[in-house]
């Protein structure tokens, strides 16, 4: 037994030594590998991979290779938060701007790119999409795609999409039969994100330029009063409008007009003939257009990355015209690169053009870390208002004081 075991050990040791000795002699990899994390699936993922393959083919001679990793969306932000600052993350990643402020405040996650950003690259994008990538005066990423809410209508029920709220209410009233479960207009009005459409139309918002919360501003109050008029006086909206409910109403032809974004289109049944049009202007706000919040998916360079120059080069490629065309046509996304909408094929696509038109008036959703403190009080205020448990100013004052207190505690430190 004993000699046997010894010889087994000796063999193992010899093997280990051989491996150790062999390691340095294996050919050193001259390739620079860039790792990109994203949360795309389906055709969006296929389009991204197509662009990446093209980039790799073009840059094979330079020894640069980009590999992509699709991370499930639910886990994405947390994985970035946990992995990147410890140097275990990718070189680049794609995510919406809403977490940007939190990552910058946490530090060592995203590097600013003003240094690289030259005017021609800047001019590719709509200025507001670049604003979404800007935090405290520095640009932190290149805007890849944007998502905005627009008006989606059932062509059978609505022949000519309304362009003002007066037309909207008139059409919606005609099409509403609450008893039969039919509604002229359906959207997630009790979701703060959707309500921003009206809030921004009145010139309201969540933060002022000094990053102070402004939830109870007069403009916001008026936007809620308009919503309450639709809900109470005009009675054109369903109760408890969950996204599932709105989808099923629209698919059954029981909702004529829906305010929603590109994510909604994938849910629309094949039998519904729908059209897209810009959100109507708000007569009550002096004819100002409804202005949705835009979500911008940016390409960010991870702060601990060892190949930042190459990473920026790739990010530039990803937001350039040919890549944008692939993303738009193959991935059905709406790129932030505006030049792509002049392309003949993209021009012929009514959906892409509709979002392109809508984004003109969109406002970037705040990317401040403090924004997460807003959602809960704002949602509470929305519920209270919609259910008429308090007046609009009272509910908004309450939300404002809660947000202000939360921010003071967050920033306060010792």
């Amino acid at each position: 037994m004993r000699p046997n075991r010894l010889s087994a050990f000796a063999r193992f040791a010899a093997l280990a030594a051989a491996i150790l000795l062999a390691l340095p002699t294996s050919p050193a990899r001259a390739q620079k590998e860039l790792v990109l994390w994203h949360a795309y699936r389906g055709e969006e993922k296929a389009a991204l991979e197509e662009v990446v393959a093209r980039y790799n083919a073009e840059n094979a001679s330079k020894g640069i290779k980009v590999t992509t990793l699709a991370v499930p969306y639910d886990a994405f932000a947390d994985r970035i938060t946990a992995a990147v600052p410890r140097g275990k993350g990718p070189d680049l990643f794609i995510y919406a701007q809403d977490r940007l402020g939190g990552w910058i405040e946490a530090g060592n996650t995203i590097d600013p790119i003003d240094f690289y950003l030259d005017p021609p690259t800047k001019d590719r994008f709509l200025k507001t999409t670049l604003d979404a990538m800007t935090y405290q005066g520095n640009v932190y990423g290149l805007p890849l795609n944007f998502k905005v809410i627009t008006m989606i209508y059932n062509k059978k029920l609505v022949s000519k999409p309304p362009t003002t709220t007066t037309e909207l209410v008139a059409a919606a009233k005609r099409l509403t039969a609450a008893k039969a479960g039919r509604f002229g207009l359906a959207y997630s009005y009790s979701d703060f994100y959707y309500h921003a459409i009206l809030m921004n139309a009145f010139g309201g918002g969540v933060f002022d330029a000094q990053r102070k919360p402004t939830l109870n501003s007069p403009a916001n109050v008026r936007s809620f009063q308009l919503l309450m008029k639709w809900l109470d006086t005009d009675r054109i909206l369903p109760a408890e409008p969950s996204t599932a409910l709105i989808t099923s109403l629209f698919n059954e032809g029981k909702a004529a007009i829906v305010f929603s974004g590109p994510w909604f289109l994938g849910e629309v049944s094949k039998t519904v003939d729908y059209g897209l049009a810009p959100l109507p202007s708000v007569v009550e706000a002096g004819g100002a257009p409804m202005r949705p919040w835009m979500t911008v998916e940016g390409v960010y360079i991870a702060a601990p990355s060892k190949n930042k120059d190459a990473a920026y080069d790739f990010a530039k490629f990803l937001t350039d015209l040919p890549a944008a065309k692939t993303l738009a046509l193959r991935g059905r996304q709406t790129p932030s690169n505006l030049k792509v909408y002049d392309d003949a094929q993209v021009k012929a696509d009514p959906t892409l053009q509709a979002f392109r038109k809508q984004v003109e008036v969109a406002i970037p959703m705040p990317n401040l870390a403090e924004m997460t403190l807003v959602w809960s009080p704002a949602t509470t205020a929305m519920n209270v208002i919609v259910k008429k448990a308090a007046t609009v100013p009272a509910a908004l004052n309450e939300a404002q004081s809660k947000v202000a207190a939360g921010i003071a505690r967050l920033r306060g430190g010792k």
Binding site: G102, F115, Q136, G137, L245, T372, T380, R409, G412
Partner: protein, 658 residues
């Protein structure tokens, strides 16, 4: 059997004293060395800031860009031999405006655009600008406006922002040799004396006292206390001296830098740049600042104000040293007692006797330590801090706030608020959430046990057909992942389209907005969890029911007992040993049943149906108050600990019965 040699108390206590004095003195010495190093570091940084700020202020006055800036940098660098390099950048055009770095000569000489590998320099400047704007907007000192970094060659690089007409437009980075540090640390004579003297004295006293254990121990305690106390006193003195020296050095440097600034600004080469307006004088408070560019607030060097501040600092140092010494003394005395009174000897003996057992347990112990105890202790430590998203880069002692979080959680008794509109419950109050959690737990367990037991009794009917089918069907709710069940139930309670309201309407009722009122919202969660929890109780009861011997029932039937009497006197007592542990378990599960509340009611309306665990989650991940949330979780732990203790006693009682 050989009789054990009687232990010598004198020798044992002497060993304890020697180790205690050694450990104590070593800790104090280590603390002293570390503190002196920290003081030296702080002084070096302050001197670096004075130097960089003096240059930055001069540039602000003479011009942050162009020839004037280059002239200032040239004059400045020529007049201070300790400076290795100065680099001045401007954001506009991403320019290197001036540089005395050795690489920036010839073709790379300033002014030129920064190159790609110099991106970190530009980013640093932008960071300082953003920090300044953040601090102004928040009205607080949160982000450093001056950055200090060690260079690999031992120099210190200090970067300060440059201002033009009230806005930060660039940055000056000054690299200079550190001030000379005193030679190698002297032999710690104090510490050696602090160890040797008590040992010698105890040895002498031991001869007098013999083997009188108590007297020996008291002597040892006195000697160790005296020795460590004296060492602490000496350390405080040494640190106070270092603090005073540092202040003197900074004062001298401030004067020297101001003089340099005046001479540079007065240089004829700059006359053209300054011809239009004579620059405002630079004050000591402009250059002797902290990293937030705020003056230290001590007035002019040598003034009464400055002396008072120094006095306060020294007092602070003495108090801190006293606290640390007391802590070290406590550790030393514990060691002394442990070794001197024989605890150590007994522990070693046990370890040696059960060597094999301890070896087997070791891997599990290490696993527990890393996976359970470390996160737990970290969580508890976090609960004493004010950790939020915005200060994740700070260490725990920096954000230590003691028991403030606990005070805020437990000390807030404002559960109801009286307003003009009537009485309002503050749903964020801890006691409301606690009440809600207890109610939630009690009702759920009651429902689970009642329904489960009832169904088990039915299933246990003798001769029941298709019993396995029923059993599988009834266990299904348990087998479905509970978040799916939760989402289905939430859908069923939808106001317009939920099946519950549709049934109500069929019977002519009015649809209810379930999530609008506390009571109805709570009921939806209760229904969902009831649905999820009865199968477990049913399975447990069914198993126990089947193990009751049937002759018990037969015998009781002989005696003429009714069905109810059988249930009371046979079934229930026989079920007890199985049911009580199940109930105890289910209480803990339900107390921390995160999914149901989080998914079904989402805390609606207005956080009123939140239970403790979901509330603490919301504090951490929606309000980003990590410290507060940690304190919340610790309170939950304490509650469950008390419950666990009580349950232990109950279990022991039931074991007695069974």
């Amino acid at each position: 059997m050989q009789k054990a040699r009687p232990v010598s108390h004198r020798r044992r206590i002497l060993a304890g004293l020697a180790i205690a004095a050694l450990v104590g003195a070593a800790l104090i010495q280590a603390g002293l060395v570390a503190s002196r190093a920290a003081e030296r570091r702080a002084t070096a940084e302050r001197l670096g800031i004075v130097r960089a700020q003096a240059l930055a202020q001069t540039l602000d006055r003479a011009g942050t860009t162009g020839d004037a800036a280059r002239e200032v940098v040239r004059l400045w660098s020529a007049s201070d031999p300790s400076i290795r390099s100065i680099r001045v950048i401007a954001f506009s055009g991403i320019m290197l405006e001036a540089s005395t770095a050795s690489g920036d000569a010839g073709g790379r000489a300033a002014p030129r655009r920064l190159e790609r590998e110099e991106k970190p320099l530009y980013d640093q400047g932008q960071r300082l600008r953003a920090a300044h704007e953040t601090n102004v907007q928040e009205g607080a000192d949160r982000k450093a406006e001056i950055e200090i970094a060690d260079r690999t060659d031992g120099a210190l690089e200090v970067a300060a922002p440059l201002e033009a007409s009230g806005e930060i437009t660039g940055m000056a980075a000054v690299t200079a040799a550190r001030p000379p540090t005193p030679g190698p640390a002297p032999v710690p004579l104090d510490a050696l004396l602090g160890v040797a003297l008590p040992i010698a004295l105890f040895y002498a006293a031991g001869r007098l006292l013999g083997e009188r254990r108590r007297a020996l121990f008291v002597t040892a305690v006195l000697l160790v206390s005296a020795s460590l106390g004296w060492l602490g006193f000496r350390a405080a003195g040494s640190l106070a001296d270092a603090r005073r020296d540092s202040e003197t050095a900074v004062d001298a440097a401030t004067q020297a830098e101001l003089a340099r600034a005046a001479s540079v600004l007065g240089d004829p080469a700059l006359a053209a740049a300054l011809a239009a307006a004579p620059p405002a004088p630079i004050a000591p408070a402009d250059v002797d600042v902290n990293v937030y560019r705020r003056p230290y607030g001590g007035g002019a060097p040598g003034s009464a104000e400055a002396l008072a501040r120094l006095g306060r600092d020294v007092g602070e140092i003495r108090r801190a040293v006293r606290r640390v010494t007391a802590g070290i003394l406590a550790i030393a005395l514990l060691l002394l007692a442990f070794i001197g009174l024989g605890g150590a000897a007994r522990s070693v003996a046990t370890l040696r006797r059960h060597r094999v057992a301890y070896t087997y347990v070791l891997p599990a112990m290490i696993g527990m330590l890393v996976l359970v105890f470390f996160p737990f202790i970290y969580g508890v430590a976090l609960s004493f801090t004010d950790a939020t998203l915005f200060n994740t880069d700070k260490s725990i002692p920096e954000i230590w706030i003691g028991l403030k979080n606990y005070g805020e959680i437990l000390g807030d008794f404002a559960i109801v608020k009286h307003t003009a509109g009537g009485t309002v419950v503050n749903y964020l109050n801890f006691y409301w959430t606690f009440f809600n959690t207890v109610l939630w737990t009690v009702l759920n367990v009651t429902i689970g046990v009642t329904v489960g037991l009832f169904l088990a009794l039915i299933l246990n009917t003798r001769g029941l057909r298709l019993r396995p089918v029923y059993r599988v069907l009834l266990i299904l709710p348990w087998a479905t992942p509970n978040y799916i069940t939760a989402l289905i139930w939430r859908g069923m309670f939808h106001q317009q389209f939920g099946v519950v309201n549709q049934v109500i309407q069929i019977f002519g009722g009015h649809p209810l907005a379930w999530f609008d009122r506390w009571a109805t919202s709570f009921a939806t969660a209760l229904a969902t969890n009831g649905w999820l929890s009865f199968p477990f109780m049913m399975v447990v009861s069914l198993g126990a029911l089947q193990s009751i011997p049937s002759d018990l029932y037969e015998a009781s039937r002989m005696d003429g007992a009714s069905r109810w009497q059988q249930f009371r006197s046979i079934t229930l007592p026989s079920l007890q040993p199985a049911l009580i542990p199940a109930i105890i378990l289910s209480v803990i599960w339900t107390f921390n049943m995160f999914n149901i509340i989080y998914l079904v009611t989402m805390g609606d309306p207005g956080s009123s149906t939140e239970i403790l665990i979901t509330q603490s989650y919301k504090y951490a991940f929606e309000r980003y108050r990590y410290g507060y949330a940690a304190a919340y979780s610790t309170v939950i732990f304490m509650i469950l600990l008390v419950y666990g203790y009580w349950q232990n006693r109950v279990t022991r009682a039931t074991e007695g019965i069974a």
